[in-house]
């Protein structure tokens, strides 16, 4: 069933402790791979919760003047959905992948601070539980941006808003500890010979992701702390009737909020830059440009926050400045897209599911980038801001963008994590359902916004074509959800029955493929010396050179990868 022949194991680990088993081994673990898997499982559970909330909202909006869901519940749903997707799915899912793969990719045996690593995970889980516990009382309902005074005690007296604040605190702390750990690991634990210019591009983006988190997260942590003291301890930071300022919140929130969108998308960029060369069978086009543009984006990301506030009472010079910086940040982002197309160009592209998700991502993300340019033209944004056009934009960059790259990562790395391949047939089915489902759901939302429908409304009147457009969007959402379900089934099935992957099923370029699948506890017996950005290519060439003549007659039996792995 797998279209890939089980490959030959090239190098296997030997001097390894027996792996501890049972549930206690999970809750006490400091192994970056186990922590990574716990991250991934947890964040996907939250993805399913957030997706369910999205489907409920789309059901409500399927017909005009629908009464399925009441206004309060609708407000709770979009607040839970947005918050879940951002703080409990996309940001930590990258921490999960980075946990598992970053040490492997740079030839390290674990993260720099393994216990702190475990703490990051448990803080994330605690944040998620505190937040979701609020559904047994009153969930928060002021949106994921929680602007005061709506989020103040006077207008949101319920503890749900406090649960939201604690979620930000706990997941923020989790992210900061994780980021410090990634940074320290990358800076200190690379294999011999892995200079900055030989760092895999995914690792480059995790580095930038970490730097952005370290600078941005403390700002939101401060902002929500002030909100907390306003709510419960009699301060008035955001209360205009007592000399406070609502704009303080907007500025602090978006100073964090814009870097946050790059925190969510950059590792995805890195993922695409890893996967495309493997399946196009040629080196990435413009390694330096891609790495440099990530760093440029990180810097510019701190200068554009006010483009989320174009309609707020702020001076024109600020608007003009932020428009210019927003245009500037579009340049490195655009450059990356060209580089990816350059990578595909004159390659020999093998259409694996992982590659399809990457190509689908480029196609969709380009549209999200273009709609972003519309929003950066501030007078145009005066029309589009807070309308469905913005809902379309965020989903083009986050759902069609970040989440498609997450799925690419799942298909690409699943064999390494489980030792088994996922079904390519189900994978492709899932991709096409998601791709078309996505376009059906969100393309039309640009038009809904241009027709004057604001976001965060639980109902709309039956005027013009609004009813039809919204119905299309709702149907699309269910097709999209079906596609996601197919991947979940695929993963659940493949863990048990997938074809044995062997150490390097894709003939990939980076070090994580230089060990068994799944890797032994110590990752590598011997850490090789790195000579280029594509060490596996060097090893393959070397092995061919040394063993070519000797074993050329011996046909390799399929499944020998498993044999090597079980001989440990």
């Amino acid at each position: 069933m797998a279209t890939y022949v089980a490959p030959v194991p090239q190098i296997a680990a030997h001097k390894v402790d027996r792996e501890s088993r049972g549930w206690t081994s999970w809750i006490t673990t400091t192994d970056h791979k186990k922590i990574g898997i716990m991250y991934l499982v947890t964040t996907f559970v939250f993805f399913i919760l957030g997706g369910t909330e999205a489907l409920l909202m789309r059901l409500q909006l399927g017909a005009p003047e629908n009464t399925l869901i009441n206004p309060q519940t609708y407000n709770e749903l979009f607040t839970m959905h947005g918050t879940t997707m951002i703080f409990l799915f996309v940001v930590p899912v990258w921490a999960g992948f980075a946990n598992y793969f970053l040490p492997l990719m740079i030839g390290a045996r674990d993260m720099a601070f393994p216990r702190m690593n475990a703490l990051s995970y448990w803080l994330l889980l605690a944040g998620g539980i505190v937040f979701y516990a609020s559904i047994f009382w009153t969930p928060p309902s002021a949106g994921w941006v929680s602007y005061p005074p709506l989020s103040s005690i006077a207008f949101s007296p319920s503890g749900g808003q406090d649960a939201w604040i604690y979620l930000i605190h706990l997941t923020g702390l989790s992210s900061i500890l994780g980021a410090v750990n990634f940074y320290a690991t990358i800076a200190n634990m690379r294999a011999r010979g892995m200079s900055w210019g030989r760092l895999p591009l995914f690792v480059w983006t995790v580095l930038v992701y970490s730097i952005l988190i370290i600078f941005a997260m403390p700002v939101i942590a401060g902002a929500v702390t002030l909100l907390l003291t306003d709510r419960h301890f009699g301060t008035h930071f955001y209360d205009p009737t007592q000399g406070g300022s609502q704009m303080l919140w907007q500025n602090m929130f978006w100073f964090f909020g814009h870097p946050e969108v790059y925190i969510m998308i950059l590792p995805g960029f890195g993922m695409v830059s890893e996967i495309l060369p493997v399946f196009a069978k040629k080196p990435v086009f413009g390694y330096k440009a891609i790495a440099t543009s990530s760093v440029t984006i990180a810097f510019l990301a701190f200068l554009v926050w006010a483009h989320h506030m174009f309609t707020a009472p702020i001076p024109l010079v600020v608007l003009a400045f932020v428009m210019m910086s927003s245009y500037l940040i579009a340049v490195p982002t655009g450059v990356k897209i060209f580089n990816w197309i350059g990578t595909l160009w004159s390659g020999s592209i093998e259409y694996s599911t992982a590659l399809l998700f990457c190509v689908g991502f480029i196609a969709i993300f380009l549209i999200g980038g273009i709609s972003g340019v519309f929003l950066a033209v501030f007078p145009v944004d005066w029309q589009l801001n807070e309308s469905y056009f913005v809902v379309a934009h965020i989903h083009f960059v986050l759902m069609g963008g970040a989440v498609f790259t997450v799925f690419a990562a799942v298909y690409y790395w699943f064999p390494k994590m489980t030792g088994r391949l996922m079904s390519e047939t189900l994978g492709k089915l899932s991709f096409w359902l998601m791709f078309w489902g996505f376009l059906f759901t969100f393309l039309i939302q640009h038009v809904i916004g241009l027709d004057g429908m604001p976001r965060r409304v639980y109902e709309y009147p039956n005027v013009g074509n609004l009813a039809l457009y919204n119905l299309i969007s709702t149907i699309g959402a269910f097709i999209l959800a079906l596609g996601i379900l197919v991947t979940i089934i695929n993963a659940a099935r493949s863990v048990k029955v997938g074809a044995i992957a062997g150490p390097d099923p894709w003939k990939a370029n980076t070090l994580e493929w230089f060990t068994t699948s799944p890797p032994a506890v110590n990752n590598f017996d011997e850490i090789p010396v790195i000579r280029s950005v594509e060490p596996m290519k060097d090893f393959r060439r070397e092995i061919e050179r040394r063993t070519g003549q000797r074993i050329e007659q011996v046909p390799v039996p399929a499944g020998s990868g498993e044999a090597a792995a079980s001989s440990l």
């Binding site: 407000n75 709506l150 205009p240 259409y351 007078p379 145009v380 029309q383």
Partner: protein, 295 residues
């Protein structure tokens, strides 16, 4: 179903949509037609749209072509290139050039979007001289002749209130209305928006962009309507449970009719005030405390 062709299909569909009839074109442009600022935004939007359409077709086209042409079936052996400095510098500069064009276009169009024009000759007589900036109002733009009709928009959960010029010097007794604003045609109307509680956002799509209505701040916009008619909108910033029902409309009527309406409204309100005053004094006399808390 070849992957590449499936991928190219949506691109083609959108491209065809762009070049098809102007009717279909309106489908992907913002609402406009009520006021010159809305029309200027629409023009600027279309300029961005043309550039975007070209970029879209070129880039999606290149992607689709690469996916088709260089599939393993068609191209057995990959060419091992690492990059091309000239090409990379080229497309970076290309992107920068587009960005500069957009910035220049925006700054050129900005005037007609932000700065209100003078009222027409037929404007309402009650158009008053507006005073210049006092403090913290540097963002408030006036028409060249400093004459306009100034209306205060007050946002509160979940209804819009409008206060028109008139009444006593201290601002009391000014005519007001809820939900529907009545304005004269051919007249430049300046809006000053404030909030009584949470953040709202004022938005009548055909009359221009929206402005956030933030408690503790004043925000400004304007419109000038030529065609009598009803222009609809609603609050665009989440403000609580009733957000979706916080609707607004602007009814534009000929100036004479506006003067009539405002006179009638002033009269109604002062009558109601007198009535309320008598009721209150009766109540006070009856209650014995001489004061009514929270009337």
């Amino acid at each position: 179903m070849r992957p590449a062709s499936l991928l190219a299909a949506p691109g083609l569909a959108v491209a065809m949509l762009l070049v098809s009839a102007p009717g279909a074109f309106a489908f992907i442009t913002p609402e406009a037609g009520g006021s010159p600022n809305a029309n200027s935004i629409d023009t600027l939007y279309k300029l961005v749209l043309y550039i975007a359409a070209v970029v879209f077709v070129v880039v999606e086209g290149a992607l689709g072509y690469a996916c088709w042409k260089f599939s393993a079936k068609r191209n057995k052996v990959a060419t091992q290139t690492h990059g091309h400095t000239g090409l990379e510098i080229g497309w970076t500069l290309g992107a920068v050039a587009i960005v500069i064009i957009l910035a220049v276009a925006t700054l050129l169009k900005l005037g007609s979007i932000r700065n209100p024009p003078n009222s027409g000759a037929e404007a309402a007589a009650s158009t008053t001289s507006v005073s210049g900036a006092l403090y913290a109002e540097t963002e408030r733009k006036l028409p060249p002749n400093k004459k306009a009709l100034e209306i205060e928009v007050i946002g509160r959960q979940y209804i819009w209130q409008y206060v028109y010029p008139g009444g006593a010097k201290n601002g009391l007794g000014a005519p007001y209305s809820y939900e529907q604003m009545v304005v004269p045609t051919h007249t430049t109307v300046l809006l000053k928006a404030v909030s009584m509680d949470v953040v709202h956002s004022w938005w009548i799509p055909e009359l221009g962009g929206k402005i956030q209505v933030v408690p503790g701040y004043a925000n400004y916009t304007w419109f000038k309507i030529e065609k009598p008619g009803l222009y609809r909108g609603q609050c665009a910033n989440i403000c609580g449970q009733g957000h979706a029902r916080m609707i607004a409309s602007v009814r534009a009527v000929p100036p004479a009719q506006y003067e009539e309406w405002i006179a009638k409204r002033t009269q109604e309100i002062s009558e109601a005030n007198v009535e309320a005053a008598t009721q209150r004094s009766k109540l006070e006399a009856g209650s014995g405390t001489g004061r009514v808390l929270n009337p």
